[in-house]
């Protein structure tokens, strides 16, 4: 601690150069934070997936439906604890394509039994059970459109037109929140019984089933049993863990992780050169001063530590400020809620970022620090004259 003033003084020696380097490190870590937010948004389905949950889809494609009576047959398979179904409705608000969001007819009691990550007050749950046209919406969606309980929401669906008219009308009876910060709260859920009765075609069909098994270790065995149950039927199934299903969904958009890593790699390589050059130049300019410090008794190791501490301070100041800014961006919410409904920077990414700042400081400082450490005092002092 007693050497802090020396480190701080050296950082302030060339204010413009230090500021520009700090700014470049700041931008790099802000970008790191934002890319982590995007990565998390794409992978939220994977990270939020329950280890004990399976998804049963049509064997051919997710867009093909399954009969609703499969529910009882799945429920009878040993190892199955709960079953419920979802259907992709593709609702559009006010007939504007940009007002698109995830909307699904579900069975309320079974839905909440399967998904404890969605939190709804009890009175609103009861209101939903009482109201056939009732819908519950996530708080992110409420924030996006400024809805409130009691509002009547007209939706159109290019997949499921309503019998006798295009527009579906729902009444908001509840607003759910997420049990965890990265829970997707941009969904719109309404009752399957109302939907099935009023849709123009496709009655008795559902999109896919969610299945909870008694133990994650039994998931593979139960999945095989479900697929065997419906083998050679007109509606054969494909059952897989929820995480694998979500990962497959993300992969359809390309390998997001590799793309983000590529961008980050390029950014950090550039920053390495910028910060490394700053430190090397800074040490070169102070050869005589370093010689003086050694002459008055600073050991080689202490000089090495001083230069490393300086480069770490530079990287940490800029990096932590960048991470803080990324966190603030996440707090402000998604600028494109229809594309990135979950906009959250998990603490583990902040911890990784903080670790990276130290690594960046050490890597950029090590060569100049070694150079300073090896400096011969008599040679360094001669440079002054």
């Amino acid at each position: 601690m007693k050497f802090l003033f020396l480190i701080w003084g050296n950082l302030l020696r060339k204010k413009l150069r230090t500021s520009l380097t700090l700014l470049s490190v700041f931008v790099a870590f802000l970008l790191f934070g934002i890319l982590c937010i995007i990565y998390e948004a794409f992978n939220v389905g994977v990270t939020m997936a329950g280890a004990d949950r399976l998804i049963v889809t049509h064997k051919t494609s997710l867009i093909m439906s399954l009969p609703v009576n499969y529910e009882q047959r799945i429920q009878r398979i040993p190892g199955v604890v709960d079953v419920t179904h979802w259907t992709w409705f593709n609702g559009i608000y006010q007939d504007e394509p940009k007002n698109f969001f995830g909307s699904f007819p579900v069975v309320p009691e079974a839905f909440f039994a399967m998904h404890p990550e969605y939190v709804l007050p009890q009175d609103q749950k009861e209101a939903w059970l009482r109201t056939r046209t009732g819908a519950i919406v996530g708080d992110a969606l409420v924030q996006r459109f400024g809805w409130k309980i009691g509002d009547r929401i007209p939706l159109t669906s290019p997949i499921y037109p309503r019998e006798g008219g295009d527009v579906w009308e729902f009444e908001i009876v509840g607003i759910y929140s997420g049990a965890r910060p990265n829970t997707d709260t941009s969904g719109f859920f309404f009752r399957y019984d109302y939907f099935d009765e009023a849709r123009a075609y496709g009655k008795g069909l559902v999109g896919w089933y969610m299945v909870r098994v008694d133990h994650p270790d039994n998931a593979a065995q139960v999945a095989a049993a479900i697929d065997a149950e419906f083998a050679n039927s007109p509606y054969e199934t494909k059952t897989e863990p929820e995480a694998a299903f979500a990962q497959g969904f993300v992969s359809q958009m390309g390998n997001i992780g590799t793309i983000l890593m590529g961008v980050l790699g390029a950014v950090f390589f550039t920053i390495l050169l910028v910060a490394g050059n700053t430190m090397a130049q800074s040490v070169r300019e102070r050869t005589a001063e370093l010689g003086t410090l050694k002459a008055i008794g600073f050991t080689n190791e202490r000089v090495l530590a001083l230069v490393l501490a300086e480069s770490c301070a530079l990287a940490c100041l800029g990096g932590l400020a960048g991470l803080a800014a990324a966190w603030l961006v996440a707090q402000a919410g998604s600028p494109v809620p229809s594309m990135l409904p979950v906009f959250h920077l998990p603490p583990q990414y902040l911890a990784i970022g903080a670790g990276l700042t130290v690594v960046l400081g050490l890597v950029t400082g090590i060569l100049p620090a070694l150079q300073a450490m090896r400096l011969q005092i008599a040679v360094a002092l001669r440079r002054e004259g």
């Binding site: 007693k2 050497f3 003033f5 020396l6 003084g9 050296n10 302030l12 020696r13 005589a288 001063e289 010689g291 003086t292 410090l293 050694k294 002459a295 008055i296 008794g297 600073f298 050991t299 080689n300 190791e301 202490r302 011969q376 005092i377 008599a378 002092l381 002054e384 004259g385």
Partner: protein
């Protein structure tokens, strides 16, 4: 710190050879020098005669090619780099021609630097710094940065830094070489006071006959050899 004969610095048969490419340059050849405790020695000689090299050897900033250097009974040419650093911090104060202050630190912070290597508390360090600055007459300038001070004041700050740990030996390399006559005289008076009133042993490299007149003894270095007679 001195041995039983009162000799503080004992340089024996020291040879220093530098290599410049394929050329070998003998800077010091079989040089002997004894400096008694409490002495103020002026070391004179033409440029390139090896004065600064000898000073560096005595201060443990460099090592002889052969021969021995003992200071206060410690054979410093046998010490490791780490031991030498600790020894310098404890026993030697350096005064440089160009002051060698850190421009980013105030006078008091510059003076405090050698104390960072001790176990003194912050308050104790501050006390020592205040005393050193008072000795050199700069207590009123302690918050000023080197760029805000004259050459003479910067050199006095450099001297305060050299004495703040209360070393026995002060090594001064052309301490007045970058100063005008008036400032130079003030520095010489200060060094003489440190020698006479505070008992510091001083070895001063200088070109200046006027400066050497302040010393209690003057030796001349030419062609790697010492003499008490001024060379022709």
């Amino acid at each position: 710190m001195s041995d039983t004969n009162g000799v503080l610095v004992d340089v024996r048969n020291v040879e220093k050879v530098f290599r410049r490419g394929s050329e070998t340059v003998h800077v010091l050849s079989g040089l002997n020098l004894q400096v008694r405790e409490g002495e103020f020695l002026a070391l004179m000689g033409p440029s390139g005669s090896g004065k600064s090299t000898l000073l560096n050897l005595i201060g443990g900033l460099d090592r002889p090619t052969s021969g021995s250097v003992r200071v206060g009974g410690d054979q410093i040419d046998q010490m490791s780099d780490r031991q030498l650093a600790a020894w310098r911090a404890r026993h030697v104060g350096f005064v440089f021609q160009f002051y060698n202050l850190l421009p980013v630190l105030s006078a008091e912070r510059n003076v405090e630097l050698p104390l960072l290597l001790t176990h003194l508390s912050k308050a104790e360090r501050r006390r020592h710094v205040d005393v050193a600055l008072k000795v050199v007459g700069l207590e009123h300038r302690k918050r000023h940065y080197p760029r805000q001070m004259s050459g003479g004041e910067q050199q006095r700050t450099g001297i305060a830094r050299a004495i703040v740990t209360d070393p026995t030996l002060l090594l001064c390399d052309e301490p007045t070489g970058d100063l005008d006559r008036k400032s130079g005289d003030e520095i010489l008076a200060l060094l003489r006071a440190l020698n006479q009133e505070h008992g510091k042993t001083i070895i001063m490299v200088t070109h200046d006959v006027h400066a050497s007149a302040q010393a209690t003894r003057t030796v001349y270095l030419e062609k790697g050899q010492l003499s008490t007679e001024k060379p022709e």
